[in-house]
Amino acid sequence: MNGPSILSMFRWVVWRDLLLAWRRRSDVLATLFFFIIIVSLFPLGIGPEQELLRTIAPGVVWVAALLASMLALGRTFGNDYQDGTLEQLMLTPQPLYLIVLAKVLAQWLVSEVPLVLVAPVLGLQFGLSQNTLAVMTVSLLLGTPVLSLIGSIGAALTLGLRSANVLVALLVLPLYIPVLIFGAGAIEATVSGGEAQPFLLLLGATLVLALMFAPWATAAALRISVE
């Protein structure tokens, strides 16, 4: 076999994307602060009643996570598409499925993991208990990779289009709905004293499904968009 092995290729793609993100730190921070601002706006709009805030917290955190992850989608393939790197990556003998998986992993590490880390602090603002905060973190850890995976399909389909940013929201947000329901449901269940486990298991199942199928669909979409 010529060229680097599959595993080293995978590692190389992830490393390269992380490095690029590190050199453009402001992009990453912008997404993070977008998330923080959106979550903080809700108490201002709704009022400071502790009881009410505790009820809406799961939905607010998850919807904000959805919107913030949308912002970052354009970067998954956008820059590489513009400077021609993407075309070169697609010409390599390594399977495109794997390259897509590596890029999505890097995107998740760069744009989603900071949200997951900062979410418990925001949860404190909404008066959530320690137990709930733990469930929230786990649900975000399981759910945000699904957002990155599904989002990558939308990002690949809209590559290089005029209104890509608005379009991607239209395509991807309806597909995010199950993640939103399961993720917010898990937190909601703990707030109201129920069992969060079924929701987390469903989130895990969604993640497995998305891991299997989404990179494949993204690879197909990339081949269509880059011809």
Binding site: L157, R162, L170, I177, P178, G185, I224
Partner: protein, 254 residues
Amino acid sequence: MSKSKINWYKYAAPANFYPLAGKVLPWFTGLAIILFAAGLYIGFFVAPPDFQQGNSYRIIYIHVPAAWMGMLLYVLLAIYSGLGWAFNARLASMMASAIAPTGAIFTFLALVTGALWGRPAWGVYWVWDARMTSTLILMFLYIGFISLQSSIDDTRRADRAGAVLAIVGVINVPIIYFSVQWWNTLHQGATIRLGSRPSMAPIMLAAMLIMTAACWVYSIAVVLARLRTIILERESEAPWLAEAPALQNNYAVE
């Protein structure tokens, strides 16, 4: 298939399909008008008023067929665009583009008529019922498909990108449906359910089935008409169309 006298592959070529569609279009249009007239007549004048809901129930004669068509057309849309993508069949992709607006309109109609019926029956225009929510999401999927296709100038890419989206959407529809249903039962929002409706009188059922057939035939007619314009638009450079000015004149007169 081998015994069939019709060569189906022949009609996969837009040049052969265009005149065929033109020939059958008036028949479907006429049939749709007759069926709509019959269905509406039976629904409005023959069928008795419901003993609980009075006359307001009559909206189901358009609501239920519209909801069925909305779902069915999305599946058809995915199948046609998938065929177009897999076998590089232009006509199948054009068919998918032609189906999308009709499907979106039926879904919208189902939502609007459902809301109008909900007001007298439930006292509110909208409840976050599992069915209503998933129908709303279905309409979002249609809108996504249409806006993706219309924002790509290259038709080849538009067809294929639409196919990926439609297939991903079709896989997601059951997941979305079950998640919404589960979410709904947990939140316990809607107290009135559609499922508890008493069984229908035969005459009501007849009216509804005729209306369903009417919606089917109407969809076929409208999709064929739209398909013909799409063929004219996309094949305007093709020799068969350039050599047949009669066709274009025909279109202009229509």
